[in-house]
C-alpha cells in the first residue's frame, strides 16, 4: 500500500470516529437547561466536515485500492460474507451520513434561538443525532470485521 492509500485509510477512520463522537456529544449539549449554542455550532461544523472528509478519503481508498488489492482476498477467504454483506452495506449506508450531518448543521446554525424555546425541535434533533451515531457505530463495527478479514501483505 503506498503512502497515499495508507493516509486515506487512516484519515477515513480518524475523521469518521471524530464525527461519530461529536454527534454522540451533541445530544448531551441539547439536553441541558441552558443551551450552549456556540458550542453546538462548533460541534455541528466538526461533525459535518468530519463525515465529508471521511467520505472523500474512504471513497478514494475504496474506489482505487480496496477493489484491486483487498476484495479478492476476502472473497477467497473463510468469511466472504464480510465483503458481500458488510462491506456492500457499509459503503452504501455511509452515504446517508453527510446529508444527515448537513441537516443538523443547518438547523443548529439557522435556529439556535428556536432550539432554546422549542422542545420538540430539540427532541427531533436529538433523535437525528442518535440515528447518526447508531448508523455510525454499525458502520464502524462492519469496518472492524472488514479489517479483521484482511490477511497477507498487499
Amino acid at each position: 500500500m503506498n503512502p497515499l492509500f495508507l493516509n486515506a485509510l487512516v484519515w477515513h477512520i480518524f475523521l469518521g470516529i471524530a464525527a461519530i463522537i461529536i454527534f454522540a456529544g451533541l445530544p448531551l449539549l441539547l439536553r441541558g437547561k441552558k443551551l450552549n449554542t456556540g458550542l453546538l455550532k462548533v460541534y455541528s461544523f466538526i461533525g459535518f466536515f468530519g463525515f465529508v472528509g471521511s467520505w472523500i478519503t474512504g471513497g478514494y481508498y475504496y474506489s482505487f485500492y480496496y477493489g484491486k488489492a483487498i476484495k479478492g482476498g476476502i472473497l477467497a477467504g473463510t468469511t466472504p460474507w464480510v465483503h458481500e454483506i458488510l462491506m456492500e452495506s457499509k459503503e452504501h449506508v455511509f452515504l446517508f451520513l453527510p446529508f444527515l450531518a448537513f441537516v443538523v448543521l443547518v438547523i443548529v446554525n439557522f435556529f439556535s434561538k428556536e432550539l432554546v424555546t422549542n422542545a420538540k425541535l430539540r427532541m427531533n434533533l436529538i433523535l437525528l443525532s442518535v440515528a447518526i451515531v447508531t448508523l455510525g457505530i454499525v458502520i464502524t463495527l462492519c469496518g472492524f470485521a472488514i479489517s479483521g478479514s484482511v490477511v497477507g501483505k498487499h
Partner: protein, 106 residues
Amino acid sequence: MSGKLKLTEGIILGSIAAVVFVVAITIVAELAAPLKGWLKNTFYHHWIGKSLIAVIVFAGFSVLAFAIPHKASLEGINRLLLVLVALVLLGALVIFGFFSYETFLK
C-alpha cells in the same frame, strides 16, 4: 425567517430524496447489471457514480422544494425530521437485508 424555514425544509426534503435514491440505486444496480456497468463506465467506479448522483439529487430536490411557493413552519420541519429519521433507519435495514438475502438466501 421564512426564507430560513423554507430553505431548511428544502434541505430536509433533499436529504429524504437522497436517502431514498441511495437505497433504490443500490438495489436496482445489483439487480440490473447494465446500470451498474453504466455507473462504472461513466464514473470509473459505481460507488463514485452513486455518491455524485446522490449529491445532485439532494441539491436538485433542495432547490426545487425551496423554489416551489409554500408556507414553511417549524412544525413542518419537525414533521420532516421525524420522516427523515424513520426513512434513514428503514433504508439501512433494507440495504443490510437486501445484501444478506443476496448472499445467504438467493
